[in-house]
Point group: C3
Chain length 123, copies 3
């Protein structure tokens, strides 16, 4: 089952927690055991699953994305390519499996814009 | 359905647009709504979905892959590992969903060689 | 079919070859042609498919992960996010397709710990 999640980003760059929206898509699919593909159809946005940004020791993808560029001004399309447009998870007992502290983040690199996330849930 | 796409790379390093070949594999599968796994079975090659390289503001993965190495001479196998051997997309109306400007690229890091790309289309 | 692979890491950071465990999960699934999703439900661990570490010219993800951080002390959660929690492969003739020299590695960034790997095999 395919679900489209609509997002309105608010700033030029942001990391938006979309875990709840993805879990809702999985729940609506009725799949109990399977997988979920999360795809971002935008060349200046991306998706990543990592430790929650709510903690002080959160991952700092933004700092690293600038650090890897010799000019220290990494273009939005390169950032999106490095973070990647796809993540895939597994579904157990009707929910996407996430470890303690793991969350799904939508990365905006050229906002604010209206954005779409595709979630395909299969079994 | 599984399809093998055959490629002959022409230079030591190159980024080859394989979007048309992937879309053809999706079309031949007959899947209308589902997903597509793109896998590169080579340790010195990779796949990435990002903004078209036909534009002046294209992503510069090659520059970044060198920048992340202290020696500024990143080995081919490390480049392949960083770009990754897999991408996964979603299929809607019989086509892989790609946003404006998004294309699928095969990255060669040790050519020229005969290469293979696997495309598995499921639903 | 979903399989849980249990791992006990032994040091603070390590790359563990889990190719055999993944191939066993694929074999047990009975799937002859399909795909396999490998998911790591931990915020300080990751998975990557790349050239074997048994050779002298092996990829050096650890060096690169430190190089991309301005402080040269990349936190464990950022490393895990960059390497990523997911890989997806294709299954042909009852085995995950891997090129010559390609292996599947579990990356531990905060061990030693008891860890789990999910392998979902579908068709």
């Amino acid at each position: 089952m395919l679900k489209k999640i609509h997002i309105r980003t608010k700033t030029h760059e942001e990391a938006r927690d979309i875990t709840d929206e993805v879990q809702q898509a999985v729940a609506e699919s009725g799949v109990r055991e399977g997988f979920v593909v999360i795809y971002i159809p935008h060349d200046a946005a991306a998706v990543s699953i990592h430790r929650t940004l709510a903690e002080a020791d959160a991952p700092q993808l933004d700092r690293m994305l600038d650090a890897v560029n010799p000019d220290r001004e990494t273009p939005e399309y390169t950032k999106a390519a490095f973070v990647a447009p796809t993540e895939v998870g597994v579904v157990v007992d009707g929910r996407m499996v996430l470890g303690d502290g793991q969350r799904v983040y939508f990365y905006e690199f050229d906002g604010p814009q209206d954005r779409v996330v595709y979630a395909y849930v299969g079994a």
